[in-house]
Point group: none
Chain length 224, copies 4
DNA sequence: CATGAATGAGTCTTCATTCAT
DNA sequence: CATGAATGAAGACTCATTCAT
């Protein structure tokens, strides 16, 4: 009563639209909408109301599934991270291709596609907000970064073991195989309107040069 | 008249003296303080009151020099960008070293230092907020990115012209020389606490591999 | 920027009314306004916006002095408690009157006035909200309740020592001298509109009866 | 038909049986749950969802029986008030004990028990919220306060008529017999953790003193 | 010039209430 | 009847910005 309760005697617009799409995927829809908003405006710049609007639900609904804005943010990050990287990791480990062919084939393809997909936006998000969410950063590090680098290192070592590659410091810094992806993502986000960059070619060039750099001497003749 | 000692020695022994001395670089101090805050908390997460506090000025003073928060932000970005890159660019253009030696010497040194300096934080800031400030992004692109890439390309072309390097697509994607810097910056910001990365070695490895990749066949013997 | 900053280009009503009353008693004014609101609507039922409106300040100002609603509430309680009870306590300890005369004179007067004053509203407030603010309750207990009861007990003991009173359990339960005050406060708050109660007479009757009850036998003749 | 066993034995073995059994007292269970919640958190501080949870029903069910939160609150107050005071009133009117013995016996017992029961919490609730619910306060006044005081006054008058008591103003302020109960209730709610108070002894002391105060001079010998 | 009290629009979050199922 | 997902009004709190002193 009194000031605690809404005085409205006349109620909202269309009460019938509710439950229309209702499913147990409501949380997913909200997470999807939140992803777009977070990706566009950053954490602080995103208003939960806009997330709700984009998900076509009421302002209060996200709070039914996510206790706070931060919870929602974490859910967003986790949902993007989860399982998207398992595929390529599995391929890496089970492929019968030569390492060079794998890098120039499936791996390049994967990275090229990743860079064009909406879910790389999560990378920018983490770059921007990660340090405020240590828990999340740790999660990302453990599930994506650490495992990804490990697999890459194993791949390089295999190349060396198979006599494809010479021994180089690359195995100690597999991050170098990934670095151009960051460049591509950031370029697309910031500079694409100023100057077009063919990220596919960028990535391909990088792989080609890297392979050239580490290729074992005797295999030189095989190339052309 | 301007830099003479204050005439009133009666009030505040050295307080007025300090004031005088600081008067001219007040904006700079505010920008410096703002840089730290923006770098730590992002644009939206930074409170102007904290900036003022860090700069040891009153809450209202920043508004004397910068009409809005965004103006201040732009000033911050500009101040970091300005002139820090001219030096290396000049060196690049006037050096007498071989391109390989230049890359492995002054250039590597520059990048390694940049990565450790506080002013790379601006990179993360731009990654995070750049798309909301097109004007700023354009300014950064024109003054840093475009000119930097141009100079790098010229350097590579010089290497080719001098017979040091073979012709590769690297000249079309000089971003590849910079990409590991992004990796280094981001790693330090997000993952350093999880897993140490020797960024100096990372950067060196990258330059070494890149040079190996593009070095002209006959120049192999010339190196040492 | 963007959604973080107010878009308003046209600003509020009268920007000149500010600072009019400005003094360092602003906090006091806010506390006073808050007292009225809390007393009227309880803790949860009070809107800080109404407090601000009553204090004729903007919605945000209370937060400049009180970090949260609860802080303000505590300040309200403390401000009412502080020092109002010292006077009567001092009188109690330094009076030259007989205990009976003191109880029927200054003490009765004090209680009668207290019951009519606005600051007893704090009692109702504490009854209603106290259990949610243990810190505050402890503060009130230490500063008002414990000290008040102690003084009352000393007074009764003095009456016994002087031969005015016989030894009764009243000294163990000095709360009984205060109980009718609670009745008076609560009655006025809840039932006054239903049925008038002469609280002055109620309180006087209670003191008279209590004194009759504990008066030493030999002093009986002295009464009339 | 109404209380026969459910016909469908197939679904839910005894789940449906329980449902049937509970159906009739659902409102009561909800009121009971609501009482606990209101008593603990006050009106505004109580969430209907918690009430439902405590009553082990769904969030929407209370609305089937009570149109609004306020209706439920009223039902709570009424349910506690109703009929609990008739017993003692009847006793008061039909007892064959002397008034003194009645006060020191059944009446004291009743008050002591009341103070320890959960249903006195309603008193604190009314103190806190009563002024916002005039209707409810009126109901409480008519059914509990007015009738209670009337009966007490009649009791005192009977004491006077029987020559047990002298004529005192107590008959005009029977509230004084009740006042210590308020003290006891409030003390238990707020200060018990700070300092234990033997409320039984408090109440007994009060009755003893009051009776001493009003006892007729000649009846002194009659007592034992 | 410099200060910091004051403003008020905006955002997160809660919860009474409704209603499709 | 019973459920609980969904709604949306309201309130706590923040902070960019202003301006009297």
């Amino acid at each position: 009563m009194s000031k605690t309760q809404p005085k409205s005697e006349l109620k909202g617009p269309d009460r019938s639209a509710r439950k229309r799409v209702r499913k147990d995927d409501r949380p997913q829809e909200i997470v999807a909408a939140a992803f777009e908003e977070f990706a566009s405006h950053g954490y602080a710049g995103t208003r939960l109301e806009d997330v709700a609007a984009r998900a076509k639900v009421s302002k209060g609904l996200p709070y039914l599934y996510f206790k706070t804005k931060e919870e929602l943010f974490k859910a967003v990050v986790r949902s993007v991270i989860t399982s998207h990287f398992d595929t390529i990791r599995n391929e890496m480990e089970s492929t019968t291709l030569s390492v060079e062919d794998f890098l120039k084939g499936p791996f390049l393809k994967f990275v090229q596609e990743l860079v064009c997909s909406r879910r790389v936006l999560i990378v920018r998000l983490l770059i921007a907000e990660g340090h405020k969410h240590p828990e999340l950063t740790a999660f990302y590090f453990d599930n994506v970064v650490a495992r990804g680098l490990e697999t890459l290192r194993a791949l390089i070592d295999r190349g060396v073991a198979r006599g494809e590659f010479r021994e180089t410091a690359l195995r100690d810094y597999p991050q170098l195989l990934i670095a151009p992806m960051l460049m591509a993502v950031i370029w697309r986000a910031l500079f694409e309107h100023h100057h077009h960059l063919d990220t596919d070619a960028l990535l391909k060039t990088h792989i080609d040069l890297m392979v050239d750099a580490v290729r074992a001497p005797q295999s030189k003749g095989d190339v052309s």
